[in-house]
Subunit: 281 residues, 2 copies
């Protein structure tokens, strides 16, 4: 299979490595707006070739992967679909789905598009962040799969089965709600935690000599790029606000229990929180 990947960052680059490692791509063409990233993607052998003309890059591929930030996704996907022929398949790998699905809902080539979200990532970005095993054993969500042509869907299912990933089918609205809970809120919390400690650091230079595993684990996501995350928060704004309000409510409740020294209440809340073990054993 010949593959064209538009956007050679963490996700696009990792997919390139995975496809090659599993013998799923014979030739990979990359499209990348940043000249520095394009050059680096060649050096890292993520792609065989860089193509600057989008239509030319699309015409050469059996599979076209759109792996740009979510704000660019809604403008890049329609012209890609304009250019595809009946045998070609297009996927995105974006973190929000409703806006993107709406942008192409009436497109005459809608059937050639399969909306895909591989639930994997790191706090790093750009071609240097690409990792061959990033997707292995993780879940990939296929959204509104009934709107894709059966043959296109089958090709995409075979591909992600082979990585191997676990396939999950959701409609776009459910996808965006669920990712607000399991991904987007964690990032907001982590950004706020980093801002909290950085605020204190102004006064206390040596405070972070103590940074240990627990802190690193909760604040790791705060290294993530705004170019990736602001468009995600923008496209999933109402769900993120909904979850964030619940989170603020829970934090405020814990704060109030501690302020009034209700240690029985605090113990009960932590026991309740411990039930997360049934979700993440």
């Amino acid at each position: 299979m010949n593959v064209t990947i538009i956007g050679l960052g963490l996700i696009g680059g990792s997919l390139a490595l995975s496809l090659r490692q599993h013998g799923l791509a014979q030739r990979i063409v990359g499209v990348e707006q940043s000249a520095a990233h394009a050059q680096r993607a060649l050096e890292l052998a993520l792609v065989d070739e860089i193509e600057t003309d989008l239509a030319a890059a699309v015409s050469q591929a059996d599979l076209i992967v759109v792996a740009v930030p979510m704000d660019a996704m809604v403008t890049v996907l329609p012209p890609v679909l304009d250019a595809v022929a009946a045998h070609q398949v297009v996927i995105d790998v974006g973190s929000t789905k409703q806006a993107l699905l709406a942008a192409v809902a009436q497109h005459p080539n809608r059937g050639r598009f399969v909306a895909v979200h591989p639930m994997a990532g790191t706090e790093h970005s750009g071609p240097d962040a690409a990792i061959a095993g990033l997707f292995e054993g993780k879940t990939v969500v296929l959204c509104d799969a009934d709107r894709s042509d059966a043959d296109a869907l089958h090709i995409v299912e075979q591909l992600f089965h082979a990585l191997p990933m676990r396939l999950l089918y959701l409609d776009g609205a459910d996808h965006d709600l669920h990712t607000a809970y399991v991904s987007h809120i964690s990032h907001i919390t982590s950004f706020a935690l980093a801002l909290t400690v950085l605020e204190k650091e102004k006064e206390e230079q040596r405070i972070f000599d103590l940074a240990s595993g627990g802190f690193e684990s909760t604040v790791r996501l705060a290294k993530s790029s705004p170019a990736t995350w602001v468009p995600i928060f923008r496209q999933n704004r109402l769900n993120v606000l909904d979850v964030l309000d619940e989170h603020l409510h829970q934090l405020q409740h814990l704060r109030d229990l501690l302020a009034k020294e209700d240690y029985t209440g605090l113990t009960e809340q932590i026991q309740q929180a411990n039930h997360i073990r049934k979700i993440l054993p």
Copy 2:
């Protein structure tokens, strides 16, 4: 060296394994309130023997380690100090220090005590959670070290150097402020995040099929035991409230920027949060 460890949970048990692995303890006696944990500590060979009489356990040891939850720490440490002779050394391994240091400030054997906080842990508890390499390469804080006898301090320094750990010296007040930032607040945030998603789970059964690395990383600490953490929050209440209020302020600010669609402001805040890279590269 003969060692007595009072409290055979995650920290006491891990220290037993580390001391033995590095040939630092010839014989380890354990004191443990829970009969089940005492039995398990023997099965796991964390200790050679369980002693139920505290004074007898103390009298046999060159080094006595008090590794009980912080609420028990302030009641257990004074009678331990009552029982020690001039050649013996006592350490705690607790996560808060000011209340404990105050509890023994006027004790006639204060000099035999060295206040120690190894900055390492996991979300698990009990003897089964003990890990031999838990402390390796981590930081250990020695608090108010000038209040310990020189020979006692020297023995403790040699011991933690051998594990090996990086030694840091702080007074009790600075320790408690700094741990509020780098450890205690991460736990509160994680508990609140777990409560947030568990609240939503009542409505949405399948939401957590999607749980991925980022979520797991931020919510992992929410598995931690209230028996460990409520006493820590209690003893460090004012510092924790101070940090928590700053964190609530930062979260509310991010929420307001998203609510009013100020994406430039949101980008600036995330760029600011990214500076956490200079603390955790």
